[in-house]
Assembly symmetry: C2
Homo-oligomer: 186 residues x 2
């Protein structure tokens, strides 16, 4: 098992990680998935293949790490003025990202990993987002009767499930119903 995260954060190590991740994202838009190889990625990143093998182990693990990074929220999610609105904006954007063909690849790469630490991090990011929405709601004085886990179970659960098994069956109206149900439950 390799560590991959923040080994000697400032310096060459970090630059290599950045270069490799960038190379993967670039090449994902340029070549078919089955010709996306580690030697190709290494060349684009300006490093030797053995560096990639030693740090990430395999293409599968590398793709999982890059995919997980794309699941990480980059900016503060918008404040819509209500919990339901915040959840819809957030989950809606996720939904739109992941129904697309590249999004489907990202989701598959992330879910295809068995790295528990990686999955745990993804889960934590989602918890953090929902936690932020709940804090906002509380600050507004909204009465909320459900916890983070239940919201994730009833929103991200069905959403991830459908995105994986039947991506053509998701829609904004369906997502609205999920959110309404989640907020109404308990």
């Amino acid at each position: 098992m390799r560590t991959t995260t923040a080994v000697r954060p400032g310096g060459r190590s970090a630059r290599v990680q950045q270069a490799v991740h960038d190379a993967v994202r670039q090449l994902a838009d340029e070549v078919e998935r089955d010709q996306l190889t580690i030697p190709l990625i290494a060349e684009r990143a300006g490093v030797t293949p053995s560096t990639v093998y030693r740090r990430w182990g395999s293409l599968k693990e590398l793709m999982a790490h890059v995919a997980a990074e794309r699941l990480k929220p980059e900016a503060e999610p918008q404040d819509t003025g209500s919990l339901a609105g915040d959840l819809l904006a957030w989950a809606g954007e996720f939904m739109e990202d992941m129904v697309s063909l590249p999004g489907q690849q990202v989701l598959a790469d992330a879910l295809g990993s068995t790295d528990a630490a990686l999955k745990g991090r993804c889960r934590q990011w989602q918890c953090d987002q929902v936690s932020l929405f709940l804090a906002r709601a509380h600050a507004r004085g909204e009465i909320v009767s459900c916890d983070i886990d239940t919201l994730l179970d009833l929103i991200m659960g069905p959403l991830t499930y459908r995105l994986s098994y039947a991506p053509d069956t998701v829609s904004e109206s369906w997502l609205r119903r999920c959110i309404a149900r989640a907020l109404g439950s308990m």
Copy 2:
């Protein structure tokens, strides 16, 4: 894209498919995941590697096919006398299978695929199961106010989500609450 399913069903082709699938299942219990290679599988199955490459394309796709097969229900699920009971028995068995280490691999292999047809088949099997439970409930005279999709959204959604991102947080009591919520909703 390859077809894989039922090409010249009766004959050599089917025997090869069987032998290869069997070899994968055997070897999955014997060797670490990263030394499970196509040449190894081919040797165990008594075929040449090129046969496997030509039919399945890559290890990833082969594993996805084998994993999907394990998600297919083999026997008629037990009739417990109530819809809630049927759902709990079925989803509970799925949960127990998939929290285990080999189960986690199977789930990751299946979810890691981007073969829409394969995913669609998995979804269909689950629809069929729930449909059967609903038919039984109807025959018993149970009043049921929710449809197949909602039951899958509220049971298999959260379950698959948690099995993927936080397998240590599932439990039978949690699953019971999911099922109760699903049956009470709408």
